[in-house]
Amino acid sequence: MSTIPKGPRPKHLTIGRIGLYCFIIMCALFFLMPLYVMIITSLKDMDEIRAANILNLPKELSFYAWPKAWSQACTGFVCEGLKPGFVNSVKITVPSVIVSVALSALNGYALAFWRFRGAYFFFGLCMFGAFIPYQVMVYPLLKIEDFLGIYSSLPGIILVHTIFGMPILTLIFRNFYASLPIDLFKAARIDGGNFIKIFFYVIIPMSTPITIVAVILQVTGIWNDFLLGLVFAGRDNQPMTVQLNNIVQVDYGVAEYNVDMSATILTSLVPLFVYFISGRWFVRGIAAGAIKG
């Protein structure tokens, strides 16, 4: 018996839908599995870990690995845990993010609105710069910084992160600004704004979504960086990732897996936190025409 179509279309749970849900759930499990293992391992004591059964829940909760990872684990000869690395990472990330985002916004604005001679060439150069693997430039950059006398220092590593962040960020800002109506900029020019005034009073107030995208990209990128931190930061300024590596790669004694796991989780907390609080903005920023093109 067939019913006469009327009102909203009835919703059916089709085979396709069920298949889709199954697939999504399996994907989620696949990616959550390592996290699960990390968390439960960090909560076991060493005896239980040695007994294998990697997927079993801990019989007895033991929290001792966490404070140890934070403040006592040995990185080489020093046994202060990850705490100094965390402080260093903050000292590196905050100025690098602020400087690179601010400069890129200004660059993107100039490229989008003040079409100077060779602007397209410069745009192409940025595009090129954004896709060169940075390992290629490590050695020349090292020589340059050595020459400038800032190699192996906090300003040195901040400069490196700023330089490597700028091509892609400039592109992102430029594309975002190019999607804004040009009339707005014309109106501002007639209203008496100059290069800097228009940027501060008209353009920046409209840049919130794209700035958030840029900040997320930079914070996660710089926080997760290992190579540049290892090469350019110097012994006193090693970021959290480098110190994590030192904890995990022990040359002597016993490998404490529970401490390793909690140290790893601690290191990844900052990017995770950034994603969680700003996910909504990230999607909105990308939807605003940011990363496209």
Binding site: D183, A187, R189, I190, D191, G192, Y201, V202, P205, M206
Partner: protein, 357 residues
Amino acid sequence: MKNSVEVKNISFSYGKTEILNDLSLDIKEGEFMVLLGPSGCGKTTLLNCIAGLLDLTDGQIWIEDDNVTWKEPKDRYIGMVFQSYALYPSMTVEKNLSFGLRMMGTAKDLINEKIKKAANLLQINELLKRKPSQLSGGQRQRVAIGRALVRDAKVFLFDEPLSNLDAKLRAELRYEIKKLHRDLSNTMIYVTHDQIEAMTLADRISVMKDGLIQQLDTPKQIYNKPANLFVAGFIGSPSMNFLNAKFEKSNQNIIVGNKQIDISKYENINNVINDQEVVFGIRPENINIEKNENSIHCKVELVEPMGADTLVWTSVEGNPISIRLEGSSNFNLNDEINISFDINKSSIFDSKSEERI
């Protein structure tokens, strides 16, 4: 009367594409000048050049006896209203209005006074604390006009300001702009592709095509005595009817296929040469339905009632002809009619040069 804006032999090109070439235009003080033309004719480019938003390739622009060719837009005593409104989305209406004055460092009291005056004039008092996103299209355009007003601009530039609005609002704001011009009597330059706006607002219209001014005259002259075939066809809706014909000097007739039309009453009949190929143009309202010795017999092919008037379509020797009649007139399909042309209101063009004879 002295000139407010003088455009002297300007050229402009984008790369190798020439948009304007050696164009000159004088706009009198207090005049409402409309730049009218199809898209791509260079009218907006010309306006942007006057505003200083584009750099000329050649020529000069003078505003109020001041050579502003190399001056920044802000130093040209202009206010501009854009099609897309271009209100600053992050600022309230009040901040939008005051932005230009704040940039110039005007005293706060004076700013408030000017905003109050402009808001009263445009009836946007209640909107001052709102953001542009909370306004309707018509309100946004009022604010955009207000932004030009508070700057005490000597010349107002309008870049298709009503094109984004619906028909009713467009008519309303058109009226407002006309009233504004009556009250302020500033020089205004207004770009549009809408001939109704051009006809109703302008003191003079300059009809443009391919970067050239085709005709510069009062709306009446342009409508009644179009300078060439392009202007004749562009102005007027429904547009002018055209018949390709040949002139016979001996009896002062033009010949369209098998039909003959006596044009001895045409104003410049003496300029028409024997055997000249011409285009005969006649507006729909200058055709009468009446039988006389000069009338043409034809059939009603389509009737379009438009309320105030009715448009009757027929054809002469295969050329479609529209006739504008009173709204009350009653014709049906296939009715047999006799039409006659008001020759002294017609336009005759040379078919080669397309210029009016």
